[in-house]
């Protein structure tokens, strides 16, 4: 379990007023004389706490739906058993085979090209781009991915950024098979990290580290440099900053929206009947997640490339981010939630508690003054 420390003040700048979304302050704003009852009555605060314990919108974003047991009668159960046999015995080995073939083809082309064409940069980049798209297609095939793309394919132009909602790391693979994006990702350990440092470097990926406070400025600078380059792959950013369960969207980080360029939203929606593609990174490793996908029937999803948006005159980056989040949520049928995805890893800033304390204290002091008059 990762250490939960309170956030640095930088993280608060990403958030507009959460208080607008939370249930309204229960402390009465009155100017009447203060009685003992008013001081002793903590029921509003207790009610809020109990409400949070029983159900809260933040945890709902990361709930993976348990598969409903639909196979408990005499004919469905054997069918389900047959299904399991097919999935684990036939489909899974076939998929592993496809994936292995894909990797062999990829590595045997990528490694020579990477080293031999060191001097011919444009050619090398073109071929590597194509190869990355190829290996991603193999990945998608290995889960029997049925992906419907809607909307015009993104073009390689400078000064544009793509943003999408985030459900799992496979979002990136699904989008990558259509167009080789450069993406900004959290550096992961293990074999994923190895892939990240070798292959993804070639498409121009940028790394960030959630736990480092100064990281934001460094990353912002790298982002700006990347979009200025004409030859760089289009940049893909997941502004939620963490994987969400594809029913909700959490607040978008404003980093992608203050780069001064066009933002092209992409909405991704998975069909949960076939498999729940949400990667609950606290519950399972990426390997387990991939294995689960490979032993399911199919991964079915819709990808919508939406109309590019620009910062409107007089609009702040935060408002811009909210507007784009709205567009994506509406298109993919997701509910919006006013929480920062990083609250998965960090505690909320004490500022929110302080606001409540301040309003109560001020009302007490005011009523005391009334008494004095």
């Amino acid at each position: 379990m990762s250490q939960l420390n309170s956030t640095s003040s930088e993280m608060d700048l990403d958030r507009p007023n959460i208080e607008e979304y939370l249930p309204s302050e229960a402390i009465q704003e009155s100017n009447e004389k203060l009685h003992l009852r008013d001081l002793l009555d903590i029921s509003p605060t207790l009610t809020e706490a109990a409400g949070a314990i029983i159900d809260d919108t933040f945890t709902r974003c990361f709930k993976s739906n348990p598969p409903e047991p639909w196979n408990w009668n005499i004919y469905l159960f054997p069918l389900w058993c047959l299904g399991v046999v097919i999935r684990y015995g036939i489909l899974f080995p076939a998929r592993v085979l496809i994936l292995t073939i894909g990797w062999i083809i990829f590595l045997s082309s990528f490694i020579p090209v990477h080293f031999l064409l060191k001097r011919h940069d444009t050619w090398r980049k073109k071929i590597e781009r194509y190869l990355v798209e190829l290996i991603c297609s193999f990945f998608v095939a290995s889960w029997t991915g049925v992906v419907k793309y809607h909307g015009p394919r993104p073009s390689m132009r400078p000064k544009q950024v793509f943003v999408a909602n985030h459900t799992s790391m496979i979002d990136f693979i699904i989008l990558e098979q259509m167009t080789a994006f450069a993406v900004i990702m959290q550096k992961h350990p293990g074999w994923v990290g190895l892939l990240q440092s070798t292959i993804l470097e070639s498409v121009g990926c940028i790394w960030f580290n959630r736990t480092e406070a100064k990281d934001r400025e460094i990353v912002a600078r790298k982002l700006r440099e990347h979009i200025q380059g004409v030859d760089n792959n289009p940049l893909l950013i997941f502004p939620e900053g963490t994987c969400v369960n594809n029913h909700y969207t959490v607040m978008f980080k404003k980093g992608a929206f203050e780069l001064g360029c066009t933002v092209c939203p992409i909405a991704i929606k998975y069909n949960k009947i076939f498999v729940d593609a949400f990667w609950n990174s606290k519950k399972q490793s990426f390997t387990m997640h991939l294995l689960r996908l490979m032993t399911s029937w199919a991964v079915v999803c819709d990808v919508w490339y939406l109309e590019p948006q620009n910062l409107r005159p007089g609009e702040t980056p935060i408002e811009f981010a909210e507007r784009v989040r709205n567009i994506i949520s509406v298109r993919a049928g997701l509910k919006k939630v006013p929480w920062d995805g990083y609250l998965k890893y960090f505690r909320p800033s004490p500022k929110h508690t302080e606001r409540k304390q301040q309003s109560f204290a001020e009302s007490l002091l005011r009523r005391m003054e009334e008494k004095g008059k």
């Binding site: 009555d41 314990i53 159900d55 302080e354 304390q357 109560f360 204290a361």
Partner: protein, 206 residues
């Protein structure tokens, strides 16, 4: 899985067999969230009785799902850290005080704690909970310091200690108490009892 157990002992045996197969393919862990044990009809009735019949069976099932969701590694209780991972709870001024009451509760006690927030709970039961929040160390009475502590949580650094003491002394005096007097449950009931107290939370039932 819950619907099967309602049908009686035979289907429970079938479910156990089903469950075993699920477990082989690792699905059981997914189905149940973190807790491996299932809630049977007997368990539900037991918990219901323990919490003064203030929750319906559906609500207890929902609460169990919630309990399993918060209790990440199926320990059988929710740790303080796991409570604080709910942002809405962590920003509550009384969260630390409440944590002392709810930290490490098993499911039965968890439901009993929340039963005070049911719409069917009596004013007496609600006030008893408020009394317990003040009287954390179970002295049986609420002292000036107890109220001061809660006031400190609620106002933070926006009032000085002197201001808090002054306010509290004044309202206590006005109500006929002194700084050294202590309030018993009956006193709190008298003070908060009328007009009525509104302290209800609805348990979402899918």
């Amino acid at each position: 899985m819950f619907s099967i157990s309602y049908l009686g002992p035979d289907s429970r045996a079938f479910t156990r067999w089903n469950n075993k197969l699920f477990r082989i393919f690792g699905r059981d862990r997914e189905t149940m969230g973190s807790a491996p044990s299932m809630l049977t009809q007997y368990d539900i009735e037991d918990v219901q009785e323990y919490s003064y019949n203030l929750f319906s069976q559906q609500e207890i099932v929902s609460l169990y799902e919630r309990f399993c969701q918060l209790d990440r590694n199926a320990k059988g209780f929710i740790s303080a850290d796991e409570f604080l991972s709910v942002p809405e709870f962590a920003v509550n001024p009384l969260s630390q005080r409440l944590l002392k009451m709810v930290d490490g509760l098993n499911f039965k006690d968890f439901v009993a704690f929340l039963s005070a927030f049911s719409s069917k709970a009596s004013i007496q039961q609600k006030i008893e909970l408020i009394f317990k929040v003040y009287d954390l160390d179970n002295k049986g009475k609420v002292t000036f310091n107890d109220i001061l502590e809660v006031l400190r949580d609620l106002t933070g650094s926006f009032m000085t200690e002197k201001q808090r003491e002054t306010v509290l002394s004044q309202v206590l005096e006005e109500a006929g108490y002194t700084r050294t007097s202590f309030l018993l449950l009956d006193d709190i009931i008298k003070i908060l009892g009328c007009p009525g107290l509104k302290m209800e939370v609805e348990v979402p039932v899918d």
